[in-house]
């Protein structure tokens, strides 16, 4: 290390002293999330008819490498169908503790019903609160279970800590 090199290095660090910090102060400032980020799952509906896309085929459960998905299917009532197919998922649970957010369920789904969205603030206190049922996953539910509990207790809206780019698969999901 010559004296000149040290002086040069000091100049470099000094020039960086006057640049803006790149830190995102997360809870206060929203995080910018990439459009392809894989967060919490959404169960989608057909936007025109409002019927669930999921037909209860269990392919997602079969492909899931961490056995995080449990599906039970039932026949649709022809007068009052819940999904667009013959059958629908009467129980659809995803265990968020086991899930590794690999997105294989999304790839396996023949109807594009399950899509990994952008929500990532899933932390909770008990295991049973981390098993997300249909009511937690269907389109229209915003936020994780904990966020919704907190919002209900405070009487406010769920506040999501991120901003994300558009993604066509997430039709009907409104952040």
């Amino acid at each position: 290390m010559s004296v000149l090199d040290i002086a040069k290095g000091m100049g470099v660090t000094l020039s960086h002293l006057f640049k803006r910090p790149v830190t995102v102060q997360y809870p206060e400032q929203p995080v910018q999330i990439q459009a392809r980020f894989r967060g919490r799952h959404h169960l989608l509906r057909h936007p025109d008819t409002g019927l669930e896309k999921c037909i209860g085929c269990s392919l997602c459960a079969a492909v899931c490498p961490s056995y995080a998905i449990y599906v039970e299917a039932e026949e649709n009532d022809p007068q009052d169908p819940k999904s667009a197919g013959e059958r629908y998922a009467s129980i659809y649970e995803i265990n968020m503790v086991r899930c590794i957010f690999c997105g294989l369920c999304e790839e396996a789904c023949p109807t594009g019903a399950v899509v990994l969205g952008h929500e990532f603030e899933l932390a909770d206190f008990r295991y049973q609160d981390l098993v997300y049922g249909k009511e937690d996953l269907l389109v229209g539910t915003v936020g994780s279970k904990w966020q919704r509990r907190e919002a209900a207790a405070k009487g406010t809206d769920v506040r999501l800590g991120f901003e994300a780019g558009d993604r066509p698969e997430l039709e009907g999901v409104d952040y």
Binding site: G9, M10, V12, T13, H16, K19, R20, P21, V22, Q25
Partner: protein, 342 residues
């Protein structure tokens, strides 16, 4: 040269007390300033959670270190183990007292220094050197190999770089012919002759480098070489004893900054041209010394943000083969100029 009237004893005592408290307060906020500045060097914010803009961080840190479990090894030499950090902090705090911060009688009619020693310069060198005992005894009394190795390295480093320090100071002593810090400030080493400037500049650079090594700052912060030493002589210390060592280190940093300002940059005196703006401005107490100290403290932090740590053998080679020689040349050049030119 103005001779000062001695202060009454209780005033001196009061001043010493206030100085200690000020130094410790400065240490507390120094940690925040340093962390914030280092963060800005790295495009981060640094501590900004405790209180407005993170300004209460030192209070949180103090509470944390006081209430942490105070561990004492069963194999440790208990008395020495407890005494060692006290030695470190005592030496660090007492060194600062000899530094004059203004003209005589400018502190509400009292003198802005604790003691006006005729050997002020030697006193500071001696007391800061005594601080090595705190480090060495701490490492020895911990009865742990990492602590012992770390303390050996730290004391070897401090003792080695004291040579460079002493030789750089020699140039100033030769020029001024006194070791009274107040007189050194009054004489003003740069105003004597331009022929002295090269030697004094060399002395100032070597003094700055060896001063950085003396206070264990980057790139000479070997005690913090975690990969090799865990935490050096601090390994077995926790809680408030650890905090005392940290305090000693930062207070030593202030002392080094004040010492180099006093020796080479005119101490408490401001630059002459400010008298044209407000008459007597260069005689204001505290302002100029604090400003100069601030510059050096910033330099220490800036160095920490820039330079990597030296390896132990590089540190020793640099100290003995380069710094020592350069400081010697500085002293020789100054001496030659005094002997043959002036």
């Amino acid at each position: 040269m103005t001779e000062a009237v001695r202060d009454p004893l209780f005033v001196t005592f009061l001043k010493a007390l206030v100085l200690c408290l000020l130094l410790l307060g400065a240490f507390a906020y120094m940690t925040v300033v340093e962390r914030k500045l280092l963060a800005r060097f790295q495009h981060r914010y640094g501590p900004n959670r405790v209180g407005p803009a993170g300004l209460l961080q030192p209070i949180a840190d103090a509470i944390k270190s006081i209430f942490k479990e105070d561990l004492v090894m069963t194999s440790a030499d208990r008395l020495v183990y407890i005494l060692a950090p006290a030695i470190s902090i005592t030496c660090a705090l007492s060194a600062f007292g000899a530094i004059p911060a203004g003209p005589p009688g400018s502190l509400f009619g009292f003198n802005p220094w604790i003691m006006d020693l005729d050997i002020g310069l030697l006193y500071i060198l001696a007391v800061t050197s005594l601080g090595v005992y705190g480090i060495f005894l701490g490492g020895w009394a911990s009865n742990s190999k990492y602590a012992l190795l770390g303390s050996l390295r730290s004391s070897a480093q401090i003792i080695s770089y004291e040579l460079g320090l002493g030789l750089s100071v020699l140039a100033v002593i030769m020029v001024t012919g006194t070791v009274n810090l107040r007189h050194i400030v009054d004489i003003g080493i740069w105003s004597i002759s331009p022929w002295l400037w090269p030697g004094l500049a060399l002395a100032m650079v070597t003094f700055l480098i060896s001063g950085t090594a003396e206070v264990n700052r980057t790139p000479f912060d070997l005690p913090e070489a975690e990969q090799e030493l865990v935490a050096g002589y601090l390994t077995e210390y926790s809680s408030i004893k650890w905090a005392l060592y940290q305090m000693a280190e930062y207070v030593n940093m202030f002392t080094a900054a004040a010492f180099i300002s006093t020796l080479f940059l005119g101490g408490w005196r401001g630059p002459g041209f400010v008298d044209n703006i407000i008459p007597g401005m260069s005689e204001w107490p505290f302002v100029w010394l604090l400003l100069k100290m601030g510059i050096f403290v910033f330099l220490f932090i800036w160095l920490k943000a820039t330079l990597p740590r030296l390896r132990y053998d590089q540190l020793m080679r640099f100290g003995w083969l380069y710094l020592f020689e350069i400081a010697l040349i500085g002293a020789l050049v100054t001496g030659t100029v005094i002997a043959f030119v002036l």
